[in-house]
């Protein structure tokens, strides 16, 4: 589904990603772990199309398209979704209104007929249930005055509404209590299929107790330094990131 080759990216002249290689197929869940400042969120931002980051080298092929050539909105329309680590509050823009506009534009891009109001509302209700999001939150302004947990749940709710092919969850577990974590993991699991793929970016392995990854990658200093099966996450949790650092420096 997505093939990242030798990806280098920098911001304000400072190189953050220093040659990332990653292959992800449909149906797979990949976890990317690593210490703070290793470049995890930068990778997510670059894939989503944040223009402050400059890609200096490398390529990203997504279902045969050059992803880096697309605008942020066209990436979304092609099925790339980023769940933000810090979801943005947008006072004055209602969740429902904005999702209606988003879905309208995505369907137009794909040459599909607009969705009827009835179908839209039915979908809204179904997806709300999936992440146990209070119906009153969907009619409110996007994330305004939401608690940390509500914001994260709203991200997964939006993901459910937009039905992406490639979902990137950027530290979706941070700041969540265990109940909220279970709800979110449950939502993500239900959205999983053989046709889509998920990248889970996390610092801790706790979320991976609930969403089982097929592969775990360790990002350190802008590079993937180690990859392995799900057990690698447990090892990291046990030994801490220092053992990776020692391994590299050895």
């Amino acid at each position: 589904m997505i093939s990242i080759k030798n990806l280098h990216a920098s911001i304000d002249g400072k190189e953050i990603l220093k040659g990332i290689n990653l292959e992800i197929n449909a149906g797979e869940v990949h976890a990317i772990m690593g210490p703070n400042g290793s470049g995890k969120s930068t990778l997510a931002a670059v894939l989503a199309g944040r223009s402050e980051y400059e890609v200096t080298e490398g390529e990203v092929s997504y279902n045969g398209i050059d992803l880096l050539e697309l605008s942020a909105e066209d990436r979304a329309r092609e099925g790339v979704f980023l769940a933000f680590q810090y979801p943005i509050e947008i006072p004055g823009v209602s969740n429902v209104n904005f999702l209606k506009t988003a879905i309208g534009e995505i369907r137009a891009y794909k040459g599909l007929k607009p969705m009827t109001a009835k179908d839209f509302i039915a979908m809204l209700k179904e997806k709300q249930k999936l992440v146990e999001l209070d119906a009153s939150l969907t009619s409110r302004s996007v994330n305004e005055g939401f608690s940390g947990g509500e914001k994260k749940r709203n991200e997964i709710f939006q993901m459910a509404m937009l039905d992406p092919k490639l979902a990137i969850l950027d530290e979706t577990d941070s700041g969540l209590d265990i109940d909220a974590l279970r709800i979110i993991a449950n939502g993500v699991n239900k959205l999983k299929s053989k046709d889509n793929a998920t990248i889970i970016i996390t610092h801790y392995q706790r979320l991976l107790d609930y969403i089982t990854p097929d592969f775990v990658h360790v990002l350190y200093n802008g590079k993937i330094v180690k990859s392995g099966p799900k057990e690698l996450a447990l090892e990291l949790e046990e030994k801490g990131y220092d053992f990776i650092k020692e391994e590299i420096e050895a």
Binding site: G49, A76, I88, I90, P91, V93, E105
Partner: protein, 433 residues
């Protein structure tokens, strides 16, 4: 040697026009002469005039201007301006009340709406008590000029304990085929415990020349009265509007005003509130959307004279093109006005590189037990918000539209008349296209 004849200035022409016409104008000639004397001293403000340095009325008035325009509207032409279907509609064309075009049937008991000329002619005691008592000719040259030269306008009186459910919509229509200066004037008096909703809209139709509209409204809100007031300024590129609104509030009254500027080459609003009583509540909301070479300037004064009053001011603007927007908000809290709550906020979005925003909040506080705050902000559309929306599939254009609409909605949501709010929403979405 060649001699150059200096053409007379607009000030000279205004004074001459006054001398010719003063005997034909309604009302008290002495009051008019005093006002003209004050205008003579003040003159047309130029760039040296602190309060007008961003709004160069003198430059604009260098052209040739006339002082009257013939009436030429018909019903059909103004139909679309009557955007409130269920309202008492008053048409003021080029500063003159036109009964034939207005919809003034079935007045409830306690409501008077007539021309200023008729109010004066009928020796209305309310008119005599309040006319030209509040807007001080020595404070501003345009107040002086309006007081000297006004030909007509609207008189509204809502009697004690009367509740007027339907909105009253005053439509100022300008139509001109040659550059014209007009001075419409309104007097609105709402007596004790009465309630009303009043909309003033400013439009130009069927015109080929510039109109300099020096409009003035005095509003008297007696004790316990509740009044909701709106100004919708949409005069397009031929419109040059100086709009003075002078409000006096008595104790326990509630007055809200909303100044929505949608178009016009130059719009200068002078809005002054005097809170002359205790437990008064005042709301001042404003929204301006500017583009091209437009100049929009909001000057407000809130004068807290007595204790225990609340005022709340919110002005927001979206500035594009080479336009200039100015906000100058003064709040006075007099020595007696303890326990005052006075809040003021001016927020702007600058969409272009070449637009200009001047914002100047001023607080003058002479009492010691008060809560006052003011704040201003000017920024671009938030990049983080735009990116967030785009990652959900919205184009940059629709993301911008959504954010501009969200920004404006804080002011739009204060419009209580549903039909008016919908009209403004529609107008605004068109300007965001």
């Amino acid at each position: 040697m060649e001699t150059v004849t200096k053409t007379s200035t607009v000030k000279d022409k205004l004074i001459l026009e006054f001398e010719i016409s003063k005997l034909f104008l309604f009302g008290n000639t002495k009051l008019r002469e005093q006002a003209m004397g004050s205008f003579y001293k003040q003159g047309i403000p130029n760039r040296k005039h602190e309060e007008y340095k961003y709004t160069r009325t003198d430059v604009m008035l260098k052209e040739e201007f006339y002082f009257s325009a013939n009436k030429n509207c018909n019903d059909e032409q103004i139909e679309h301006l009557k955007f409130l279907k269920d309202a008492y509609v008053v048409i003021v064309e080029n500063g003159v009340f036109v009964e034939g075009l207005s919809n003034l049937q079935n007045f409830p008991q306690g409501l008077t709406i007539c021309s200023l000329v008729d109010a004066e002619k009928s020796n209305s005691p309310v008119f005599e008590k309040h006319y030209a008592q509040y807007a001080d000719v020595n404070v501003d040259p345009f107040i002086a000029l309006n007081t000297a030269m006004t030909k007509d306008g609207v008189f509204i009186h809502v009697a004690k304990n009367t509740i007027i459910e339907k909105p009253i919509h005053i439509i100022h229509v300008s139509t001109a085929f040659k550059n014209t200066i007009i001075h419409p004037r309104n007097l609105i008096v709402v007596d004790e415990n009465a309630q009303a909703k009043i909309i003033e809209s400013f439009e130009t139709i069927d015109s080929t020349a510039k109109i300099f509209n020096n409009a003035l409204t005095e509003i008297v809100i007696d004790e316990l009265a509740i009044v909701d007031h709106y100004k919708i300024q949409d005069e397009n590129e031929l419109g040059y509007l100086v709009n003075t609104t002078q409000v006096i509030q008595r104790k326990q009254s509630v007055f809200s005003t909303h100044t929505i500027t949608l178009s016009g080459s130059l719009v200068r609003n002078n809005l002054t509130f005097v809170l002359d009583g205790e437990h008064i509540e005042s709301h001042l909301n404003g929204l301006y959307l500017t583009t091209g070479n437009q100049v929009v300037d909001n000057h407000t004064v809130v004068d807290h004279c007595k204790p225990n009053c609340n005022s709340n001011e919110l002005y927001k603007g979206i500035v594009d093109g080479k336009s200039t927007a100015t906000f100058n908000g003064k709040i006075f809290v007099r020595k007696d006005a303890q326990k005052t709550n006075a809040f003021q906020s001016n927020k702007n979005i600058l969409l272009s590189e070449s637009g200009t925003i001047n914002t100047k909040p001023q607080l003058e506080i002479y009492a010691d037990d008060v809560k006052c705050s003011h704040g201003t902000s000017t920024g671009k559309l938030d990049e983080d918000k735009l990116f967030y929306l785009r990652t959900r599939g919205l184009s940059l254009t629709s993301a911008k539209k959504l954010l501009m609409h969200a920004f404006a909605s804080e002011v739009i949501d204060t419009i209580k008349i549903v039909a008016l709010r919908e009209y403004i929403e529609e107008k605004i979405s068109k300007t965001f296209e």
